[in-house]
């Protein structure tokens, strides 16, 4: 790619970017959110067209006007969010749009898939339905799909975001095999250690420009971070000790069966002390969301007990809990779809939980205005004004508004689900620091996370969920990533149950 530029409105997403990838090489694109990584590869895969600049493949200048052009040039994109059809088999998903005859020649397709599998070391059951697959298997199907179409340049967007450590390792093995076979591989990521582990060269993107391209062997995580952020940052997370032995929240035999009669939670029991951060690890969809919503009172179909400061709140609605003076703050996974009203400004979002306490039928926004200004100052939210719709803010600032509102209500207990998902390193550390400040205030915190490194360094204990059950709870100071990874896959091994 030579001198590529692309703007959206007034925003320059990519500014004069050039880079090249060789066959038989793994190349990483590293950058914070909003640095322009996705825009760049979307131009390679034909989803966007560059405003200026040229793309060369095999030395030939191309104009990629659509994904079809891109595929025919041998470029295959594996998106972060899989684009598969759930009710079809792996084989059908792979061959979709590729078989132009009237009949589906199953035998021929199957042979070709098996040929590719044996060449690169994939394991796949071609007849398995996608909806019955694990995340790792789905990703395999995605990769096979582009290989089947003859791609020899593969682009993977955040490929490890949803994988367990073991699945990640398998993926890396396959990528190395592909590299040996002469494929060019581009990985987009913001995980430093993966860049160090697998790639040959890495380019760091910052604010739409290339901040530098280096050989992985000649660099260090520290150097890459400084390039990403543009200044030196400390990557350490503190873990102040737990001071109290008082139990803040106790969950007893919590079960939940959803509308489709699927068991989402299965006799979950645990407790959180005041001033303790209890981490929750698990593959996505293991019941974390249901657990959080049950504690906050949103989930109505649950059975079992939830004791908050000794009082059973399992049957109460969020507002009833609030009215009892019990402050449970909840930072949901879906910030704009649940935590905030996307089209409203900061003031209207700040007032969301206590607007109804005002007397009379009218709504006075003055107190909320002051609180919004306080939050903007306290957490350094970048916004043109407090009357700016929150969906026009960047991901990090949206999260700061949400966190600010929840902390500002002086909570006793904080439930957070993936609070730093999609945030850049700088914003993420701000959030960790704020959580630690709340911890020192004596707030009990349930932290649902996905990055095992963060879970291990931030939390006091980590509870691992698998298919709605608690597989085990470990002490974060002594546990290892491998141990957690095995537990996330449902294998009860070294899980020391250190419930009080």
């Amino acid at each position: 790619m030579v001198n590529i530029s692309k703007s959206f409105g007034d925003v320059k997403a990519n500014d004069n970017i050039s880079f090249s990838v060789n066959y038989g090489e793994i190349y990483s694109l590293l950058g914070e959110n909003g640095a322009g990584k996705s825009t760049l590869v979307n131009m390679l895969s034909g989803i966007y067209t560059p405003d200026s600049g040229d793309i060369y493949v095999h030395g030939e200048r191309l104009r990629l006007a659509s994904p079809a052009d891109s595929i025919s040039s041998g470029i295959g994109m594996i998106h972060q969010h899989f684009k598969l059809i759930n009710v079809m088999t792996a084989m059908e998903n792979i061959a979709i749009g590729q078989e132009h005859g009237f009949l589906f020649r199953k035998k021929k397709v199957k042979d070709k898939i098996e040929d590719i599998c044996s060449r690169y070391g994939f394991r796949l059951e071609p007849e398995k339905l996608v909806r019955d697959m694990s995340v790792g298997e789905k990703q395999t199907v995605e990769i096979l799909k582009v290989l089947y179409r003859g791609a020899d340049i593969l682009i993977l967007d955040e490929p490890t975001a949803v994988l367990t450590p073991q699945e990640t390792e398998r993926l890396f093995d396959i990528l190395l095999r592909m590299k040996e076979q002469g494929c060019a591989i581009i990985i987009i990521t913001h995980k430093l250690h993966e860049v160090m582990e697998i790639s040959d060269r890495v380019s760091v993107l910052r604010r739409g420009e290339i901040a530098g391209t280096v050989n992985t062997q000649e660099t260090s995580p520290m150097e890459l971070t400084s390039m990403m952020v543009g200044k030196k940052v400390t990557l350490s997370i503190e873990r102040p000790p737990v001071k109290s032995d008082d139990i803040m929240l106790e969950v007893r035999d919590l079960s939940l069966i959803d509308r489709d009669s699927i068991k989402k939670l299965d006799r979950v029991s645990f407790s959180v002390r005041a001033g303790e951060i209890l981490g929750v690890a698990g593959v996505a969809g293991s019941g974390q969301k249901e657990l959080c919503e049950s504690i906050q009172g949103l989930e109505r179909r649950k059975r079992g007990g939830i004791l908050f400061k000794g009082e059973n709140i399992s049957h109460l609605t969020p507002r009833a809990i609030f009215e009892k003076g019990l402050r449970i703050s909840f930072i949901p996974e879906d910030r704009l779809g649940m935590g905030l009203v996307p089209t409203m400004d900061l003031v209207d979002n700040v007032i969301l939980k206590d607007y109804y306490l005002q007397k009379g039928i009218f709504l006075d926004r003055e107190p909320a205005r002051q609180r919004a200004e306080h939050i903007v100052k306290m957490l350094n939210v970048h916004t043109p004004s407090i009357y700016h719709p929150v969906n026009k803010l960047s991901g990090g600032n949206i999260q700061k508004v949400l966190l600010g509102r929840e902390i500002d209500s002086a909570p006793d207990f904080l439930v957070t689900a993936y609070p730093t998902r999609g945030l850049d390193i700088g914003s993420a550390h701000l959030i960790y620091d704020e959580l630690n400040r709340q911890k020192e205030r004596g707030v009990g915190i349930l932290y649902v996370g996905e990055d095992l490194n963060i879970l291990l360094s931030l939390c006091d204990r980590i509870m691992v969920m698998f298919e709605g059950r608690i597989i085990g709870t470990v002490d974060a100071a002594t546990a290892t990533k491998e141990e957690l990874g095995l537990m996330m896959l449902g294998e009860v091994t070294g899980g020391v149950n250190s419930n009080d």
């Binding site: 409105g9 104009r63 006007a65 040039s73 779809g337 996307p342 007032i351 709504l363």
Partner: protein, 356 residues
């Protein structure tokens, strides 16, 4: 190749320019059509304006036509704020008119001071219930409100037809299927030469504006409209919010039916709505659901209808031709919304794709 991209940076000035440009383009396009018919476009347009605003009588007529649009648009805007796509204003207007007519026919001798408020209340309740039925099913079982409210229109129309041809048929009309005229007590008085519906419309604009922007209930509507899950998360009773908001929405449309029956027709007939329930969907959308903007848009819309009627007579243009003019303007204005939201650019196609 044509490329479209969403724009978020469209300033108020730009969007006004785009919309103004659309109207001019529409007028230019229709000019050709008028010339084919053998008329001078400038004089036709001039007469349209004259027909809508030329004399006191014409202004009154224009305003009279705008009142049902304003009231129904206000009702619809409440539902649309909730992202409840209420297409049922037409039926809600009819039900409201039926409720009002029931009171007018049952108590013709009651004093105006009692009868008119009674008719108003009956129309709000009838229209409100007609809205609340689909709202209940939507809140409870997530049925599709667009189809549901649309179907409710036909049910309301058939009810009205039944009443007109059956129980409420005027025995004094010698078998002609019409509902009896209202007693003078049941007719809205004239204030400054126009029936008092205009006062109701203005008061409603102010109330709805205050309600949406400065009350707790109004805030809840905005929250649930923005994101139902956020409403749940904040502890709101989302189902109740949906049901009572749509009750209000339907109720205001019902009141529109009472104003038309009592102020304009002084009776009830199947043609009571004049299509206001559908036209108001357009006007409330064009006003971006903002109460203070609704009267402006509705008066302009009514002027277009009134002016169109006038040129039929002045130039002997057939009615259908006048409607083509209205339709074209509408097409361009609604079409221009696309350009407010998207930026269109042209890219030269150098070479599509590449050889392997």
């Amino acid at each position: 190749m044509i490329k479209m991209s969403a724009r978020t940076d469209c300033s108020a000035k730009e969007s006004a320019a785009i919309r103004g440009g659309a109207i001019i383009l529409a007028l230019v396009t229709v000019s050709f059509f008028i010339m084919i018919l053998g008329h001078n476009p400038f004089s036709v347009y001039g007469s349209m304006i004259e027909g809508a605003f030329g004399t006191v009588y014409r202004i009154t007529e224009t305003l009279r036509k705008s009142i049902p649009l304003i009231v129904a648009s206000l009702g619809i805007s409440l539902a649309f704020r909730l992202k409840f796509w209420n297409i049922g204003a037409e039926g809600q207007i009819m039900m409201g008119a039926m409720g009002a007519t029931f009171c007018a026919l049952t108590f013709p001798d009651l004093s105006s001071w009692l009868l008119l408020p009674m008719m108003g209340a009956a129309s709000i309740i009838c229209g409100g219930i007609w809205g609340a039925i689909p709202a209940y099913f939507r809140a409870k079982w997530r049925t599709n409100e667009t189809i549901f409210t649309l179907m409710m229109n036909y049910v309301a129309l058939k009810w009205l037809t039944y009443l007109q041809y059956g129980p409420w048929k005027d025995p004094a009309a010698l078998g002609f299927p019409k509902i009896p005229g209202f007693s003078p007590n049941a007719v809205l008085p004239n204030v400054f030469g126009l029936h008092a519906g205009w006062i109701i419309a203005i008061v409603l604009v102010i109330i709805i504006h205050l309600f949406i922007n400065h009350t707790q209930r109004g805030y809840e509507i905005s929250v649930v409209g923005g994101s139902e899950n956020t409403g749940r998360y904040a502890g709101m009773n989302v189902k109740a919010v949906i049901i009572y908001t749509i009750f209000l929405s339907g109720g205001i449309c019902g009141l529109c039916g009472m104003i038309e029956a009592s102020g304009v027709n002084r009776t009830l007939s199947v043609g009571i709505t004049m299509g206001a329930g559908y036209t108001a969907i357009i006007t409330s959308w064009l006003s971006s659901l903002k109460a203070p903007v609704i009267p402006v848009v509705c008066v302009l819309f009514a002027a277009m209808i009134q002016g169109g009627t006038f040129i039929q007579m002045a130039f002997q243009i057939p009615q259908s031709a006048a409607q083509i003019l209205q339709g074209t303007i509408l097409f361009f204005v609604l079409g221009s919304e696309f350009f407010v939201r998207y930026r269109v650019s042209f890219i030269k196609n150098i070479k599509a794709g590449g050889e392997k």
